[in-house]
């Protein structure tokens, strides 16, 4: 055994390993520090050259320091050896270096098993459909490598070729597919991720933050990452109605706006609704925050219309109890016409008027002039909006930096900015003029994907707007951005910007072909998310219910899985045990029938017995049928062993065919008593 394990594998083994690891490392290119895949490239090339040019393997004195250097570099890069990124990076580097001491069969087997594990690790980072497809290729290569490593010592009868190995690997994976599907459908699902992933796993998730400083949404506007997708059951509301409500910001401090503290216990604002509801389903990408984006304004009557595990805050923002760390799906029901908070309590009013004293004197002065002109609250709002519209305010994603008095600086000096500049300065202005106001952040609009008839809302659709409280009307949405750049609200961010502004490629209006392609791809992705990644406990139970026509408890799924696996195993073992040898030769098949007939009357052929010998013995035992048995034996023997009467292959076939027909007939006629 040991000597077998020390055998040198053939040249394909290392190629398979390098190719499949190459695929895996390419996938990790986007998730690990660049030097990790780069180090793999170096070590892989080195190992390739060792195999190609018969270079010596590096000695221990070289490998040992390399190993320590790898570990230390991971430690320096990630500041730790634990956590998702650091540990995967460590694994990656060690696997890359292990290539340099992978030479015998045993090494390859260890390496392939390690690589299986390593390859699956990519799923901790992303579960996109193309990544899963690429993983299949990597797994195929690794399986072929395993076959290649195991084959070469088994027998020299079959010369190693990569085709044979690839074929066998493909066959094995094909055979594994039904098992994979059964496990996928029936493996009991646990809500949420199966195991705890280290905290740093969520670092890359982006989304709205719980505070706003001019510049923070800017980061999102440049990202074309999907924030969520919304599927409407009825007609999709107009673009200027699509305000997806996120965190509501009350508290101003310098240029920073934050939410109300959770400690303040305020009653939920009252809601009167009018008209039709708009029903929709949202698939929210994980963003590591609690907010569930809802179309303005979510109905809470009855309260169970809210998504599971969600609560509503006093300012009508819907939050979940846990940060959203997996893709979730929930239903919403919104009223586009509503009246929010017909009465404003004292506490709320003070919160909605809160300003830090002694800042932005020019702005306060402007507000004071409006108040002194005895203007009503509505008139003050209009005055502000008129100011935004008539004065040369410009909507841009690359605004200049603001000074110490940011609102003054913006309103009277730079006049360039985007939604959060307009929303924050508008609310500031309102509060200075005594109008209760607050900032609402969220997303605005969305792109219709005709391929799937749903809206794609990207991070670049992040938006901030204002709500002001008016007597008799409650909280009213005012979007100062629309006064400056109406097209931002009417038809999306790309139209509101000039061409020189940076914008993600896919949000741009040109390249219609590319766009269409992208939308189709997104539809495929959406299906993948919904049906593969989103196949959770709920869906599993629903599917089983529809298949079995009765309610299934969570624990029953395990039993069903076991039952299916046991049935599969029995089936496979039955097939394997039954057909030890599959006989395809029609001549042999016919003869086997003959043997079966004889064995029914107790005459069995020994496996080593010659056909003629057996015929003689059988004829002796069954003297009644001796002539038939001997004729059949002789005929079979001559078909099997005699020279075909003619040399031309075509006629041969006919000849043999006739003999075969005769044999079949004779055997059919034979009735033993």
């Amino acid at each position: 055994m040991t000597s077998q394990l020390k055998l040198q594998p053939n040249q394909f083994t290392i190629h398979w390993l390098l190719i499949s690891l190459g695929i895996t490392f390419t996938l990790f290119l986007f998730h690990l520090s660049n030097w990790v895949p780069a180090s793999f490239a170096v070590f892989a090339l080195w190992r390739y050259l060792i195999a190609k040019n018969n270079w010596p393997y590096p000695k221990l004195w070289l490998r040992l320091p390399l190993t320590f250097a790898g570990g230390i570099t991971v430690l320096v890069t990630y500041g730790s050896l634990f956590g998702r990124d650091a540990s995967v990076a460590l694994l990656a580097v060690m696997i890359a270096m292990k290539l340099l001491e992978t030479r015998t069969k045993r090494d390859f087997i260890v390496m392939v098993l390690l690589s299986y594990f390593f390859t699956v690790n990519i799923l901790l980072f992303t579960q996109a459909i193309w990544v899963c497809l690429a993983i299949l290729f990597a797994l195929f290569g690794l399986t072929a490598c395993l076959i290649s490593a195991s084959r070469q010592s088994a027998s020299s009868k079959h010369p190693a070729t990569w085709r044979v190995e690839a074929k066998l690997a493909g066959k094995l994976l094909m055979q594994a597919t039904p098992i994979m599907l059964v496990l996928f459908v029936l493996f009991p699902r646990i809500p949420g991720p199966i195991w705890g992933i280290p905290q740093d796993a969520y670092r890359g998730m982006s989304g709205l933050s719980d505070s706003m400083e001019p510049g923070s949404i800017n980061q999102l506007s440049l990202s074309s990452k999907v924030a969520f997708r919304a599927e409407f059951k009825s007609t999709i509301p107009a673009n200027n109605q699509l305000y997806w409500r996120g965190p509501v910001l009350w508290h101003q401090e310098g240029r920073r706006w934050t939410m109300t503290s959770d400690k303040i216990n305020l009653p939920t604002e009252s809601l009167e609704t009018f008209g039709e509801t708009s029903n929709y389903i949202i698939t929210l990408e994980p963003h590591n925050r609690n907010w569930l984006l809802m179309l303005d304004l979510q109905d809470t009557n009855p309260p169970d219309t809210l998504p599971e595990d969600a609560t509503i805050k006093h300012d009508r923002q819907v939050v979940s109890k846990q940060p959203v760390r997996t893709r979730i799906r929930y239903e919403g029901r919104a009223y586009l016409q509503y009246k929010l908070a017909s009465k404003l309590g004292d506490h709320e009013r003070s919160l909605a008027l809160q300003l830090i004293e002694d800042e932005n004197p020019k702005t306060r002065q402007l507000a004071n002039t409006w108040v002194n002109q005895q203007k009503s609250h509505v008139e003050i709002i209009q005055a502000a909006l008129i100011m935004f519209r008539d004065q040369p305010f410009i909507y841009t994603l690359a605004p200049p930096l603001l000074g110490n008095q940011p609102v003054d600086d913006f309103l009277f000096n730079t006049k360039r900015g985007f939604c959060e500049h307009y929303a924050s300065s508008f609310v500031y202005l309102m509060r200075a003029a005594g109008v209760p106001a607050r900032i609402v952040t969220g997303y605005q609009g969305g792109e219709l994907n005709p391929s799937g008839n749903y809206l794609i809302i990207r991070q670049s659709d992040a938006h901030a707007w204002a709500e002001v409280w008016l007597q008799d009307q409650g909280w009213v949405r005012v979007d100062p951005t629309s006064a400056v750049a109406p097209s931002r609200i009417e038809s999306g961010i790309s139209t509101a910007l000039s061409d020189s502004d940076l914008l993600p490629l896919l949000s741009r209006q040109d390249y219609p072909m590319l766009k269409k392609l992208y939308l189709n791809w997104d539809a495929v992705n959406n299906g993948w998310n919904q049906w593969v990644l989103g196949y959770d406990q709920q869906k599993q139970l629903a599917l089983l219910k529809s298949l079995l026509h009765r309610d299934i408890a969570w624990a029953d799924i395990g039993l069903i899985l076991m039952a299916v696996i046991i049935v599969l195993m029995l089936l496979i073992s039955y097939i394997l045990l039954r057909n030890t040898v599959v006989i395809t030769d029609p001549v042999k098949k016919a003869y086997l029938k003959f043997l079966k007939k004889l064995s029914h009357v107790g005459v069995n052929k020994f496996q080593h017995e010659g056909v003629i010998d057996f015929g003689k013995r059988a004829a002796q035992q069954l003297p009644k049928h001796s002539s038939e048995i001997e004729v059949i034996s002789a005929l079979y023997s001559s078909i099997q062993y005699a020279k075909p009467t003619t040399t031309k292959t075509k006629e041969n076939r006919i000849d043999n065919h006739a003999a075969l027909q005769l044999l079949k007939q004779l055997i059919k006629k034979l009735t033993l008593t």
């Binding site: 020994f606 496996q607 080593h608 017995e609 010659g610 056909v611 003629i612 010998d613 023997s637 001559s638 099997q640 062993y641 005699a642 020279k643």
Partner: protein, 302 residues
């Protein structure tokens, strides 16, 4: 064809009583152009069998009794200086014949043994840089005595491999022995029988034997046997490719003796003990080779 071979066998049967199987095997061996080793105790009719075969086949016969002081030149011949011609003249040895009976081959020294075995392989004699071809056909029928091994040089496996078949004669059955005792022994009758065929006929029989059809199915079976002999733990070493070729040729000859134009597995089974018996060396000292060969035959499916 079958008539001729039947006649040969019948004639030989008259001399050697009750040994039809051995006669057929020996004949098959000669038709397959192989050399024959007969191993048995003294007085079992080894020499008679060899002599009979030569007589019936119309072949020239020479006999050499191997002893420990026999030299190669005694078998092959020697060059002697001729004063008249002032040249060396080659005096051919007994090997220049059609059938050479090498009696008790294991009594000779290895040097002489190997000289003979070389001739068996090459069918020619090379002495003093001159090469002398042996008459065709050329067979060696060697006998050896298995029991009294004192002062003998057992043939090593490599040389045993040169013999296509090894047969044993065994004691005759009672009826045959009675018949034998009633007569004066086979030797006397030997003079009476005439040749059944001549050289040409023999050669055409040999050619016909080579043309007996061997199907793929039969080769599968044959290779199954070779494979098994190599994998089995009962044998020190498996059958060599030469042994495989010998199996095929012997089976062809056997099929011809049975009057068939193709080989069937039964033919292989019939000749296998004789062809493989002396080539396979049993691992165990407790069970005999023939038992293992029977086992081999049982293990390989037809």
């Amino acid at each position: 064809m079958k008539n001729i071979t039947d006649e040969i066998i019948a004639k030989a049967n008259e001399i050697i009583l009750g040994k039809e199987l051995q006669i057929k095997l020996a004949l098959a061996c000669l038709l397959a152009k192989g050399h024959l080793l007969i191993e048995d105790l003294p007085g079992m009719g080894k020499t008679t069998l060899a002599h009979t075969l030569a007589q019936v086949l119309g072949l020239q016969f020479q006999r050499v009794q191997f002893t420990s002081d026999l030299l190669p030149a005694d078998v092959l011949g020697v060059s002697v200086y001729d004063r008249n011609t002032a040249n060396f003249k080659f005096h051919p040895g007994p090997v220049f014949t059609n059938v050479l009976l090498a009696d008790e081959i294991n009594r000779a020294t290895p040097k002489t043994q190997s000289a003979l075995l070389e001739v068996m392989e090459e069918a020619q004699v090379t002495i003093d840089a001159s090469t002398y071809a042996l008459p065709q056909p050329f067979f060696v029928i060697a006998t050896q005595n298995p029991s009294s091994q004192i002062g003998t040089f057992a043939l090593p496996e490599s040389q045993l491999d040169r013999f296509l078949m090894r047969i044993t004669l065994n004691y005759p059955d009672t009826a045959s022995e009675r018949k034998l005792l009633q007569s004066n022994g086979g030797r006397d009758q030997l003079k009476k029988i005439s040749a059944a065929i001549d050289h040409k006929q023999l050669q055409s029989l040999q050619t016909a034997s080579q043309e007996i059809y061997v199907s793929d199915s039969l080769l599968d079976y044959l290779q199954g046997i070779l494979q098994y002999s190599r994998q089995s733990s009962h044998f020190n070493a498996g059958l060599s490719p030469r042994a495989g070729l010998g199996l095929k040729q012997s089976a062809q000859a056997w099929a011809m003796l049975a009057g068939r134009d193709h080989v069937i597995p039964e033919d292989v089974q019939a000749i296998l003990p004789s062809v493989a018996g002396h080539r396979l060396v049993s691992n165990s000292t407790f069970s005999s080779n023939s038992e293992h060969i029977a086992q081999l035959l049982k293990a390989v499916a037809v």
